[in-house]
C-alpha cells in the first residue's frame, strides 16, 4: 500500500512538473506579444480622450505588477492558474474565469463524450475485425480508418454542413436554441443542449473512432493467436465469452494508457470544428482570442486548461492501470 502511495505521489509530481513546463511555455507566449497590458489600458484611456504620458504608463505597470521580474510574474500566474484564476483579459478588461464561465466545461464534456463514443464503437468493431476472416469486412474497416485520417474532422463537418443545407435546408449548427442561450442551467436547457450536441460529438469522435478501431484491431490480433486462448478454447469456452474473458482483457488494458493522447487529438480538432459549427464554447473562444481580438491572456488560459485536462487524464489512467492490471501492479510493488 505504501509502495502504491509512493507510485501515485511520483506520478502526481511528474504531472505537476509537466504542467509547470507547459505553463512556462504558455506564459512566455503571452509575454512575447508586443505591447503589454499597461500600454493597452492606457491606450484605451487615450481613446476616451485622456491625455497620457510615459509616467502614466509606468504607474500603470507598477499597479499591475508588470515591473516585477519575469520569473516572479510567471510564478504568480502559475499559482493562480492552478486555482483556476487567470486574471483579467487586457483586451476586454474583464475577468477571464468569468468570461469562460461554463464554456470550458461544455467543451470538455463534448470531447469526453466523443472519446467515449469512439471506444464504444471501436472496441466491439475492432475485436470483430481482429477475429473475423471476412476479407470484405476487413478491407472496409481498413478503408474507414484510412478515411478517418484523410477526411479530418473539420472537413467532415464542412461536408455534413453542405449536405444538410442542400438537402434539409438547415445547417445543424450551434449548441443551444435561441431561448436557452443565456438562460441558467435547467432540465429543459440540458435537453436542448443534447439535441444540438450530438453532431459535434459525432464529428469529433469520427477520427478518434477510426484510430481506435485500428489500435484495438492490432492489439487483439496480437493476442488472439496465443496459446492461452487456444487452451481456453480446448477447455470448452467459446464465442464471445472466450474473446471477452481471455484475449480482450489482456489486449485492451494498454488502451487505457493512450486515452490521454486520444483526448489530445480530439482537442486538436476542437477549435476548427467549433468554428464551422459555430459552437459557443472554449474552442471557438480560442479562435476568437487568437485570430480576431489578439487576446493572449484568454488564449493562454484556454491552452493551459486543455493541457491540464490531458495531464489529469494521463495521471488518472496511470493510476487506474496500476489498479486494474496485475502486471503493472506487480512492477510497482516489488
Amino acid at each position: 500500500m505504501l509502495q502504491f502511495a509512493r507510485f501515485a505521489a511520483v506520478r502526481a509530481t511528474l504531472a505537476v512538473t509537466t504542467l509547470l513546463l507547459v505553463s512556462f511555455i504558455v506564459f512566455s507566449l503571452m509575454e512575447l506579444v508586443p505591447g503589454d497590458c499597461a500600454e493597452r489600458y492606457i491606450a484605451f484611456k487615450n481613446t476616451q480622450g485622456a491625455v497620457i504620458t510615459t509616467a502614466d504608463i509606468d504607474a500603470e505597470r507598477v499597479r499591475l505588477g508588470l515591473d516585477k521580474p519575469y520569473v516572479e510574474r510567471w510564478g504568480r500566474w502559475v499559482v493562480n492558474a492552478f486555482q483556476g484564476e487567470f486574471g483579467d483579459s487586457c483586451i476586454l478588461r474583464l475577468n477571464i474565469s468569468q468570461l469562460l464561465g461554463d464554456k470550458f466545461k461544455i467543451s470538455l464534456a463534448i470531447c469526453l463524450a466523443a472519446l467515449v463514443l469512439a471506444y464504444l464503437i471501436a472496441i466491439p468493431v475492432g475485436i470483430y475485425a481482429a477475429v473475423s476472416k471476412n476479407r470484405i469486412v476487413n478491407n472496409f474497416l481498413r478503408f474507414v480508418s484510412y478515411l478517418g485520417l484523410a477526411l479530418p474532422n473539420f472537413l467532415l463537418a464542412l461536408m455534413i454542413m453542405l449536405f444538410s443545407t442542400v438537402y434539409f435546408g438547415e445547417s445543424l449548427t450551434g449548441l443551444f436554441s435561441k431561448e436557452f442561450r443565456d438562460a441558467a442551467w435547467s432540465w429543459p436547457k440540458v435537453q436542448d443542449f443534447l439535441q444540438h450536441a450530438w453532431l459535434p460529438i459525432f464529428i469529433l469522435g469520427w477520427s478518434a473512432t477510426a484510430f481506435a478501431i485500428q489500435t484495438v484491431r492490432a492489439l487483439m490480433s496480437d493476442e488472439v493467436g496465443k496459446l492461452y486462448v487456444t487452451a481456453a478454447e480446448a477447455r470448452g469456452v467459446s464465442g464471445g465469452k472466450l474473446l471477452w474473458r481471455y484475449p480482450a482483457k489482456h489486449a485492451l488494458t494498454p488502451i487505457v494508457n493512450s486515452l490521454g493522447f486520444d483526448l489530445n487529438r480530439i482537442f486538436n480538432e476542437l477549435p476548427v470544428v467549433a468554428l464551422i459549427l459555430t459552437l459557443t464554447e472554449a474552442g471557438s473562444l480560442l479562435i476568437d482570442a487568437l485570430a480576431k481580438s489578439n487576446d493572449q491572456q484568454m488564449a493562454g488560459a484556454i491552452i493551459f486548461l486543455l493541457t491540464a485536462s490531458i495531464v489529469t487524464i494521463n495521471f488518472l489512467t496511470d493510476i487506474l492501470l496500476a489498479i486494474m492490471d496485475p502486471r503493472v501492479r506487480r512492477s510497482i510493488i516489488k
Binding site: 484510412y146 478515411l147 485520417l149 484523410a150 477549435p271 488564449a299 484556454i302 491552452i303
Partner: protein, 377 residues
Amino acid sequence: MSKADIEAQKVKEAYFTASQHQLIWQRFKKNKSALVGAWVLIALILSGLFSPFLTPYDPTIAGRNADYLNGAPEIPRFWDENGFSIRPFIYTTERTRSIQTNFRWVTEVKTGLEDRRYVYFFVEGSEYSLFGIKMNTHLFGVDKGFIHLFGTDSTGKDIFSRTFAAVNTSMAVGTIGVFIAFVMALLVGGISGYYGGWIDSVLQMITDTIRTVPAIPLFMALAAFIPDTWSAEMRFFFISLILGFINWPTLARRVRTHLLTERNQEYVLAAQLCGATPGHVIRKHLLPSFTSYIIVDLVISFPYMVLSETALSFIGLGLKDPVNSLGVMLQNVTNADVLLNYQWYFIPVIFFITLVLAFVFVGDGLRDAADPYGDSH
C-alpha cells in the same frame, strides 16, 4: 542440378544478398493499394509542379475573370441542338443588367452556334515561369473569353487553376515542415539516444511536455504572432517553420528509441572491438540501420503537416490570399450563400482527400515493407 534448380538458387541468392532498399522495394511492389497510391501521388506531385502549364490561368487575382463571378463549372461538350463538333466547346456567358432582371446583375448563357467557345490545346496565354524558364503556353484554353472547368470564386478567380496551385503549395509546406521536423528530430533524438543518462531524461521530459500540449491550439497561438505587414512569402516560410517545430517530438522519440536499441546490438559491439571510431559506427552502422524507418516516418507525418496547414489557413491564421492552399480556398465556404448556391467551391476538397489518402497508402505500404518481420504473415 537442373536448370530450374539453378534458377531457384539464383533467386534465393538474390534475396539473401539484396540490399535493404531492394528488399523494401520488392515487398512494396507486392502491395497493390500502396502501389496505386504511389502512382496517384506521383501524378499529383507532377501536376502540382507543372500547375502553371496545366492550368489555363494565373491562380492569383491577376488571372481573374471579372465577368464571371461565382460562376458555375463549365463542362466542355461535343454536341447540342445546333449540331455536333469534333472540337469540344463551351458556351459564352455574359453578365447583363436591365429592367427585365430588376437591375440586378445576371449571368446569361448564350447557346447559339456563333457563341460557342472552342477548346484548343497548347494555347498562348498569360506568362509564367516554370523552373526559371519564362513560358506562356498553357495545356488548354479557349479561342475567345475564358474557360472555367471548376467554376470561379467570388472574385472571379479560376478554381481549377487555384486547385492545382494549392496542391503545389501544400506539397511545399509539407516538404519544408517535414524537413525542419526531421533535422530537429535527428538533433534532439540523436543527442538523447547517443548520450543517454540524465541528458536523455531531461530531453525526454521536454519532448513529452510538448507532445502533451494539443498541437493545433499551440500552433494557432504561435501563428497569431505573424504581423499583418509580412509578405505572403514570409508568412509561408514562417508557417512551414512552426509546422516543423511542432511536429518534431514524435519523430525525435522514434529516432531516440532506434538509437538506444541499435546502440546495444552485437554488430555495433563487433565494430567497436575491431577498432572502429564512433563516427564510423554512426555513419556506417547506426544510420543505415534505420534510415528506411526514418523515411517511412517522414512519409507518414507528411499528411499531418498538410492537414495542419489546411486547418490553420482555414481559420485565417495560416497562409493568406495571394498564396493558394486548400485552407485559403475554403475560408469563406461556411456562409449560407456558398453552401446553398455555389457548391463547386468544394471541388478542391476531393483533390486533397485523394492526396492525403495516397500519402497514407504509400506510408502504410512502406511501413509494412520496411518491417523485417513483414514476410511472416
